[in-house]
Structure formats: C-alpha cells, structure tokens
Symmetry: C2
Subunit: 337 residues, 2 copies
DNA sequence: GCAGTTGAATGGAACGCTCCAATCCGGTCC
DNA sequence: GGACCGGATTGGAGCGTTCCATTCAACTGC
C-alpha cells in the first residue's frame, strides 16, 4: 500500500499556508494560536485525511505512552477481565495498551517481550507468564515490569499483583466446614504457579479446624476438564468417601462433576463441589458452581497503576500487592447428607 | 525510567571502534563484513545490552512490519483461536501482531482503530467488530483491512473471511433429521451479525426436508445463558413440543439445558440439543454438547494471508472467503423418544 | 515616533536508525 | 610501479515529528 504517500505534517502546513511548527501546535491544542490559523489547519487536516504519525512522534518525544501487556495464553479465561481493568486504567492515565500473546509457550513469550521492548513500551505487565525468571529480571533492567498472578517471582525492581490463593481455598474450606462437612478433599494441579498456595491454604484451613487427619489431596496435573474427572475418580475410590471436594479451578470442578454423574452421585446432595476463578463457566445456570473469585478488574487496575508509578519514579522497593479473593456461593454446595 | 539513557547504535559503534553504519550492517546480517568487526560489534552489543529501537527503524524504513488486530471483545470465546491462527501466519510471513481490544463498544473500537492507524500498522484485521461500516471504509482508505466474521460488511477494498453460518445450521438440522427428528426448533439471536444467516440456514434446511410447517423460532436476544433459558422455556410451552432444539450458540444451548432440567426433561432422551461455535464449553464432558465448529485457526491464517497479499499488491477486487463449518457430534443429540 | 512588550508564527536541530554514495586499502595485472 | 579492482568501511542525508530559540508584527506608553 502507498504508505509513503500518506500526508505528512508538511503537506498539511503547505495546504493551510502555515509552517509545520504551527500545525504541530494546533494539533496539540496549544493556546497561543489565532483562530484564523487554527481553522485553516483544521480544514487542511480533514481535506487531506491527515493522521499524525505516532512513530515519528515517539521518536522525538522519547516516549511512546504505551504499556506492553504479555498475555501468556489467550485461552485462559482468567485474563480477559484483567485486561479490561488494565485498559480502563490505561485510558485514565493516558497510556495506550499493546497486547502480545505467548501462546502458553515460554519461547514465544520471550520473543514477545523482546518485540515489545524493541517497540519501546514504557512499561510491561505480564499476566500469568510461564517464562523464566531471568527474562523478567532482564526486562526489568530497561523498563518497569509488573507481574500479575505468579507467586514465585519475587525480584528486586519487579512489582507483583496477585490474589491470596491460600486465603481463597481457606475460604472455601471454611464455608464447607460451616455447612457441616468434615471429609473435604482437594483436587490439586501440578506444574502451575498457583497450585502450591491453593493446596497449602486448603491444608492449613483443615488443620486449623482440627481436621488435619482428613486431608486428602488428589494431585497431578489437574487443571483441565479431563484432569478433574480423573482426580475425582481417584477420590471416589477412597474410603471414607469425601462429602465435599475443592477443585484447583472451575474447569477441573466441572470435570469432577462429570465423574460424579458417571458414578451416579448427585451434586450437591451426595457431594458438594467448589471451583476456583469464578469464570463464566461457574456462572452458567446449568452448572451454577460455587467458586472463589479473584478481583480481576481490580488486579488490572492495580497493575497498571503500579507500572505508571514506576515510570514516573523508578525508585523504591518492589511492591507485592495481594488482593483478597471472595467466595461466591452457588448451587453446588449444601450440607452433607 | 531512564528511557533516554538506553544505549543507541552510536554507543555500540563507539565501543566496538567502528562506524554506526557498520553496526547497522552487522545487526541486519549483511554479507560483506569482516569476521573481526562482526565479533567486535556482537561483543559491544552484549556488553551494553543494546536493543535496536524499532521506532527509529520503522520511521526510516517507512514500514513497521506490523499488522493490527482489533478484537471487539476479549470475552468472546470465539476469538482466541482465530488470533492463534493470525499469530502463526504472521510469524511465518515476518509480521508482528498488535492486538487492540474494543470492549465490545463501538466507540472504543473506533478509538482503537485510530490508535493502530497512528502507529502505522501495515494492515488491519477486525474480528467480529461491532463498529459502523464507515469506520471500516475509512480505515481501508489508508491500509488494507480484512474483516473476520461479519457477513454484512461488503465494501470495495475490504476483504472478508467468515464461515458459512447458514450451512452450519443446515448441517445441524440435517443431522437431527437423520436421527428421525421432525419437530426441530431454533433459538435465535437478535442484534448480532450472525443471527440472520443462522436462522435462514435452519429454515431453508427445514423446507428442503419438507418440514416447512414445523419451523419454530423463538427469537429475541438469546445469545446468553439466560437468553437460552428463556427461549427454551417459551418453546416448551408450545404444542407439539419440539423434540430437538438448535441454539444460536453454545452458551444459549447450555441455558436451554438448564430450562430442560427445570422442566424435568432429559437431554438427549426427551429433547436433543445442538449448540454453535464448538467453544470449550461444548467440549466439557459434563455438558458434552453437539455443536457446529467454525474453522477458527484457518480463518486466522486466511485473514492474515489476505492482509499480506494486499500489502504487497493493493489492487484487485475484494475477496470474500467463506469457509465450511463442521458438525461435531457429542452426547446431546440422539433419536427422538 | 521609537524603545519596549507581548502574542503569533517560524526555522532548524534533534530523536535513532537505514541506505546510498563515497572513500579506503590491499592485491593483481601488465 | 602505476592503473585498476573489489571488498570493507564510513559519512551524511533523510524519515516525520517536537520544541527551543528566534523572528515578526502589532501595540503600548511616554
């Protein structure tokens, strides 16, 4: 396409019969410009269909007013709302948001980070990244970095925003205990970052209630539908059978629901079920899953605010914000039979 | 942050004891550079942690090697896989992908398009945009535009990629008829772009099978869980009661499933159910919804290829690629009772 | 009527890079 | 040994902006 032939500020200036400097002033709304000139420039701009070149502007201003966001995996239902929060706050603070995806692959994430840095984003937000810590550290050397949703990354210079996963599972356990359950099991995930705190929160809450002996964890890589099914199947083989199950996330919970179906057990009459993430899956009325909600919108807000503050003032120790999760009770939890 | 203090090609040149031109040559892998110099430059680059400035490069090269992608709404499960396809093909063809979201709001979409154009993307892909046609037309004046998933936008200069929605619902109807169903109803959506062809495909297939008299459409804005529930409730009040229902999308189908539950009817024993989109919701084993799948990955490939071809050669009439949907049969369809 | 003041408008340098034209240098050939 | 060659290297212009320093024009006050 004729990228080259697009009108420049020069063309506008010529058509309006003024200097390019004046056009620049008008475009940026400077005060001391006569109405006559202002109108002439505005006219020329619409006549030519002129659109300022952000590339040139960024070069000379030495800033891009852009924050890069690395989304590890667009399929992860967790991220969309976080991005909404980021966007909202970015608009508020005068930044543009550039999304890059990593397809869940560490290599692709690295490439994306590199690309964003070459584009000279002024800050970088990483959502649930799977890449190595050294990449984060390296990036944080040239630009403020905020990591959302990973507990294991505690680096100097890198702020983090996450929700208290241990607290989340504890909330779920307390809810179930309050309903009268004692045999509460957990379907845990393996690799993923959130797995450990969620499991630990479950175990701690059980011990606090004097139920340390009833702790049952079906572990493996149970973050999928299929995984939840398998995890539940294993649990159903044990005696005494759990009367309530807390899954690592909603998808696993729905898989567990399938296993209960197949075993002829009803939810919540025979077994209560709790998910995690409060994804739209949980809200679907046919499933109506009790789930732990992370304040996603707020996490986005907070992450962007953190980046913004670092851009203005890069000093100060790393902040690690931890937000409180909320339990959303729906139809899959009830007192035990 | 000290954006300004980041090393430039000049710093690298100085440290390596060569000219900036030579550094540029090395960085772009030019052939006629002595090994000694090449090594010296490489050393200086790593010493300084130099990263080329894509902004400056784009300005002088008069191209950004970037394609902008407007995602109307990140929550729409349809788009993630399309973006995967876009990304894949972009990497293949040497482009970078910049995602911008519009939050489902027409105004925000316009802003995003404007921002992407100011960033001088070389092409624009719009996924299920909700914005007005004139915005698309206007954008297409300065950059090649490809629209994915909207049937109503047929503009000169604008290529489209979509899947044949009428064919999709027809596939579903044919499947149900093959199972022996005659009373097949449709839960349609109102506003959204895909609503009309899906309904028409249903009606046409019914007529082709001599079942024109059995056509039942519960229409409204039934694209949500809740909407599917209402639509199904209305259908259940009619006599004869349909033995099979085809919903506008998976979410509506799951809502319908809830209504059937509440009415004490079983799926698929009493009523067969078909969704649309084959989202991961449909694949969840507890739901296991028969659904119509759009070739999302391929749509992404095709869209990016189209943009690429327009960038190289902007002429030729607009292409409107229509891909074949595929019916994925799962557990919610069976012969009528 | 002229220095001084103020508001409006402009020219040119600079941002970090690419790329063209020019230069440099060590051989080769006759 | 001087002309010529070709690969290696370099200086400088230019990409489309912003912004500083300067100029210009029109007043003001005495």
């Amino acid at each position: 396409m004729n990228l080259a032939r697009r009108p420049t500020i020069h063309d506008v200036a010529e058509r309006a019969g003024v200097s390019k400097s004046l056009v620049s002033l008008v475009l940026r709304g400077a005060p001391n410009v006569s109405d006559r000139r202002r109108a002439a420039v505005a006219q020329a701009v619409t006549d030519l269909g002129y659109r300022p070149n952000a590339v040139a502007r960024s070069l000379v201003e030495q800033r891009t007013r852009t924050v890069g966001v690395l989304v590890s995996n667009l399929h992860n239902p967790f991220f969309a709302e976080v991005v909404d929060g980021l966007q909202e706050q970015a608009t508020e603070l005068g930044y543009r948001v550039l999304l890059g995806s990593g397809n869940g692959l560490s290599v692709r994430e690295e490439e994306t980070v590199e690309a964003l840095l070459e584009l000279r984003v002024e800050g970088l937000v990483m959502l649930n990244p799977v890449l190595d810590a050294w990449v984060v550290d390296d990036a944080s050397r040239s630009v403020p970095v905020v990591v959302v949703g990973r507990h294991d990354l505690r680096l100097l210079r890198v702020d983090t925003v996450s929700s208290d996963d241990a607290r989340g599972t504890a909330l779920a356990v307390e809810h179930l205990i309050g309903l009268g359950h004692r045999h509460i099991a957990h379907i845990a995930a393996g690799r993923v970052a959130a797995a450990d705190p969620r499991r630990q929160g479950y175990e701690a809450a059980m011990r606090r209630a004097g139920l340390g002996a009833q702790i049952r964890v079906s572990s493996g890589d149970y973050t999928t539908d299929e995984g939840g099914y398998e995890g539940m199947t294993k649990l159903l083989a044990e005696r005494p059978r759990p009367t309530a199950v807390l899954a690592h996330n909603d998808l696993a919970a729905v898989g567990a629901m399938g296993a209960l179906d197949d075993a002829g057990l009803r939810v919540p009459d025979d077994v209560s079920l709790v998910g995690y993430d409060n994804s739209y899956l949980a809200g679907v009325r046919h499933l109506s899953l009790t789930s732990v909600s992370q304040p996603r919108l707020e996490m986005g807000h907070l992450a962007l605010t953190a980046v913004h503050e670092r851009i203005d003032n890069s000093d100060g120790p790393a902040r690690n914000d931890v937000l409180e999760p909320v339990l959303v009770v729906r139809a899959t939890t009830a007192p035990p039979h």
